[in-house]
Symmetry: C2
């Protein structure tokens, strides 16, 4: 299984995903500002993964503190800054808040708690989030695969594999599970996912490593593929799911959902419960991050358009719940709109 | 006006569109094999433009012949090879056949015709095709603009401007005309059009030169833009239109048509009559060109995916006539399915 970070003692290492697939380079994250930069430039991405990465960063940061009061103040500040790096991904805010609450609680219960014991509590909470995410990936893989007793041809968007989570992934974990279950395996059509090419660079890399047959396609070929190439289902991840099921995910998802509806095939969102935001009643309330124009006017730093032009670069779009056939979490499957995902997020989700 | 080729005496010069927008480099086309290569590597592209380019090439080729009988045989062979470079674009076959027929007719009427007089007939026919295309662009611009008495926000795909035709263009010519007619001008959203980025490289270049405000977007952002950004109409070109109105155009067109239908806004195809193929009753009969995987696994020669993977690269998709609000030609506007475009193609189209 591919995991995008490693914790060696108090040393946090991050696989720099901007360099994939050409180079597998691990970078040191000594403190919270280093992780802020890494998240901003998408060295780590994927809603579950950035949540865990931020939690682990707070653990590493806490281990450097000598004084718990000062440390707690600093933790709060860093937590706020980490949350604001990616406004759409709700798992990030969820994981950071969970760590901060554990830190508060430890200090509240024992105002004289030693800095190293306080840091240990934070570390334990961050590791628990990570471990739960691994278990969630396994459960989502099983829950999602059960939706498709038949069919060998699936399409996916962006990267939702091990690189995007702390475990085996979300939508891509379901596809790996389907490949394992089918006697003759499955074939995946993976969209390249401009502007940042997470499909071409990361999903292709994971599918190749995992030995799943696949075809890479340009995003522009997705509707043609869904309508004309007998695709059995479209599976995607999510960055934030509103209470009614409206789902913010990587730009391009909306078009895939529309094509799947037209083709009459299932369009399935796979995401851990931490992606559900019960405080957002519907998609209109989801803030969508605009990213720099340079990501569109260039490809991995190489300009592809005339200098001086303008580009719009919304990082996400919001797919209406009506177009979503099922929402798969680690707890089970919500099947068909209208959805009511209004239960508060359990901080200890499990299969 | 931007035109993608120049004829200086018997010298044919071609603007190498693969080098745009960085460099405006004109290459010499001394004979038909040179044009075959240029069309194959998309140095010239756009259905009307490759038709005219092939016609001009046959004129240049004919000017080199000393003997009309030998010349006629060679012309037939080169014509066949030129037609087979791009199987989907029907204008190519149409223009080449028209030139060959003129050559045959000249020889049939006077079996002793001198080589230079025979070549002059061919040249005149090629220039007539070019001149008619210029007039067709002007007429399409006016016919298309009349469809939109209101609205300032339009979306287009691929490149359908001066670079894609012998004149001012098809869909893009309509947008330029709308910009001219509106007091405050219009704003265009231009898709980058992977894999070969004709939108980012060529449409952006033409719009910038023409002073039309525009936003470049990733193809993956098109559905979001159409559904959420109050776009007033989507305008595209065509590579082949079947008798019933089903339209083959650059891959990605199908998704735009679906999104426009969902948004309830006009989806308009703009193409000269020579793009209509009355011998193909419906879209199923249109051969769709598959292009090399390397165009998807790389961007302008730079790899973007792991080595050794497979990619599908259909160059076109076929949009059903039902999803097309209007088909604009130089002769007028066909409005709404069912279409019957079964009239034979007039070899002398005009406004």
């Amino acid at each position: 299984m591919i995991e995008p970070f490693r914790l060696e003692g108090d040393r946090l290492l991050l696989l720099d995903q901007t360099l994939l697939p050409e180079r597998e380079e691990w970078i040191d994250i000594p403190d919270a500002p280093a992780m802020e930069k890494a998240i901003n430039r998408l060295a780590v991405r994927g809603a579950p993964a950035i949540g865990i990465a931020a939690a682990l960063t707070l653990a590493v940061q806490a281990a450097r503190e000598m004084d718990t009061r000062m440390g707690m103040a600093r933790l709060g500040m860093y937590a706020q800054r980490l949350i604001s790096t990616r406004p759409t991904a709700v798992n990030l805010a969820w994981a950071v808040r969970r760590v901060v609450e554990a830190a508060w609680k430890a200090q509240k219960e024992n105002s004289e708690i030693a800095a190293d014991r306080w840091a240990a509590v934070i570390r334990a909470e961050a590791l628990a989030i990570w471990e739960e995410d691994r278990a969630a990936s396994r459960a989502m893989a099983a829950n999602g695969a059960a939706l498709f007793p038949k069919g060998e041809r699936f399409l996916t968007h962006c990267n939702t594999g091990g690189l995007a989570t702390g475990g085996g992934g979300t939508a891509l974990a379901v596809l790996f599970e389907l490949h394992r279950r089918r006697e003759d395996g499955i074939t995946v059509w993976a969209t390249e996912t401009r502007p940042l090419l997470q499909g071409a660079r990361l999903t292709a890399w994971e599918l190749q490593k995992g030995g799943v047959p696949f075809w890479l396609i340009a995003d522009s070929a997705a509707t043609h593929t869904i309508l004309r190439r007998r695709i059995r289902g479209v599976l995607v991840g999510a960055d934030r799911i509103a209470r009614n099921g409206d789902t913010a995910n990587k730009i391009g998802t909306l078009g895939l959902a529309l094509a799947a509806r037209e083709a009459g095939i299932p369009f399935v969102v796979v995401a851990p419960t931490s992606t559900i935001d019960p405080s957002t009643p519907e998609g209109d309330g989801i803030e969508v991050e605009d990213r720099p124009a340079e990501e569109v006017t260039g490809v991995r730093g190489m300009p592809i358009a005339p200098p001086g032009i303008r580009a719009e670069n919304p990082a996400f779009d919001v797919t209406p719940a009506d177009w979503i056939t099922a929402i798969v979490t680690e707890r089970g499957v919500h099947q068909g709109a209208p959805y009511d995902l209004g239960r508060p997020v359990d901080t200890k989700p499990g299969p």
